[in-house]
Amino acid sequence: MFRDVTFGQYYPSNSFVHKMDARVKLLLCILFMVGIFFVTSFVGFLWVTLFLALAIGFSKVPLKSILKSVKGIVVLLVLTALLNVFFTKTGNLLVDWWIFQIYDDGLIYAGKMFLRLVYLVVGSSLLTLTTTPVDLTHGMESLLKPLRIIKFPAHELALIMSLTLSFIPSLIEETDRIIRAQKARGADFDTGGLVQRAKAFVPILIPLLVSGFRRAEELANAMNSRCYEGSTHRTKMRVQKLGWRDAVGISVVVVVFSAIFVVHATKGAWSNLVPWLYF
């Protein structure tokens, strides 16, 4: 039942994007997410599309896996698009039927909002598809390091995150096992009313909680017995190093998004000269 669930949806490959440094990918992903909100024209979206196509091409992740993550927000997409279509009251009236009026501005806004949301999800899932959860937390830890000056527990936070991540697969496996065991004893999770179904989960939740606490305690004991001590000068087995791929990646993203920011900043001044750029 749960066996097909892979947390963090990492897609193993040996591509250009996979080999980039996790810290760089994180920062670029944040830049991308901020940048996408400055894209206001369809020409801009065309550029972003080209950029994403390039990134996906170099990541060797099949388009199908990426679109799978878009599937998760379909409801949100449809809802936002509909709201934009029906509640924008500027521009030329296209349709006027009963209580519905559709203006051309509404359609344009809806289209842009739709693209923006899809690209947000595609960009961020490209990060999680090409970076293992472990690398991701190490990257975050490294990026948060400067905050230690204000006593921010960067290492502890990263430890908690990576422990959480490493517990998820084993808890999923445990849940799966308990469900199977109770099913084998005739437990029925699929029929009956709401109360009955909720009650049916008791035989799963209790053993799961018990085993969760047991595992946590075992782990704490194991760490204690090996004299684990927070962040005092721990070194890493795998040191992250910046390489030429990171330089290339950064350059491409910086060029694309500088262009976007420039276009955004000059909106008022140039829109008469090159109106198509701002459509």
Partner: protein, 284 residues
């Protein structure tokens, strides 16, 4: 209850980079009342196979018939099947959840529509069978010792009155005495009540002592299907598969290499010792 598997195949995570062919053309027939042991290295597909037996994993291709239930059919009556095939998982004590031992053992029968009173009768019978008395009925299952918890979990399955018992490493993690108790219970159920037993095990000694037949899985395929006395003569092949030989099988093999062939179905230290003594008596 008999089990017949024909050309059974199973692939985990089909069509993904993680695809794993766990069962390849498995053919196996188990007669009603037999005690069959399944052995194999980790990842050889034995757990996948036994989970097919009560439709926790549905048949992907091939056919599997348990008693009169066709498990490859879509119209399978799951409840009836699961009522007659009792499944004891690895570390079954982790499935305990109820407030008291008695309630936990009643969970199975109640799910199959048995009345509260009747299921308590069944639960008490099952608890007596595994050697637990009245004093534990109202205890919390979490307060028991490891061996007792395991027996409560076993009782939880036996209370459903299964006609086939599937056990996945029932003795893992128990002390020698706990192991012996569980095994002698399983053997008794098999001999006295005629329950068909399919047991996955890593402990070759317990396989050698108890099973009528041993099925060896390797990379999702059945490589041997023999009575234990014949199987363990293939010493080198088994060692190559990372399977250890039972102590008594090693003794018998060494004796055989030295020209001493003992007759009969010898399983335990006592069997072999008696046979040796008889041999000596006959010779002198």
């Amino acid at each position: 209850m008999s089990i017949t598997a024909q050309k059974l195949n199973f692939v985990y995570n089909a069509k993904s980079p993680f695809a794993k062919h766990a069962l390849k053309n498995v053919d196996l027939h188990v007669e009603s009342g037999e005690f069959v042991a399944i052995v194999g290295h980790t990842g050889s597909g034995k757990t996948t196979f036994v989970q097919h037996l009560n439709a926790l994993i549905r048949v992907q291709s091939g056919s599997l018939v348990v008693d009169n239930h066709d498990l490859s059919s879509k119209k399978l009556n799951l409840k009836a099947l699961r009522g007659s095939v009792g499944m004891v998982f690895q570390y079954p004590e982790y499935q305990l959840f109820a407030d008291t031992v008695l309630q936990d053992v009643c969970f199975g029968p109640k799910n199959f529509g048995v009345s509260k009173e009747q299921s308590e009768v069944l639960a008490k019978e099952a608890l007596a069978l595994v050697g637990l008395g009245e004093d534990v009925y109202n205890k919390s299952p979490f307060d028991l010792s490891g061996g007792e918890k395991r027996r409560v979990a076993l009782a939880g399955v036996l209370a459903m009155k299964p006609t086939t018992l599937v056990l996945d490493e029932p003795t893992a993690g128990l002390d020698p005495r706990g192991k012996k108790e569980i095994l002698s219970l399983v053997k008794r159920l098999n001999k006295e009540q005629g329950i068909t037993v399919v047991m996955v095990s890593h402990d070759m000694d317990e396989v050698f002592e108890n099973a009528d037949r041993v099925v060896v899985f390797k990379d999702g395929e059945i490589v041997y299907d023999l009575p234990p006395s014949q199987l363990f003569q293939n010493e080198q092949e088994l060692v190559a598969m990372n399977l250890e030989l039972p102590q008594m099988a090693r003794v018998l093999n060494v004796l055989r290499q030295n020209g001493i062939v003992l007759q009969g179905d010898l399983r335990t230290v006592d069997d072999v010792a008696n046979a040796l003594q008889n041999l000596k008596g006959g010779d002198c």
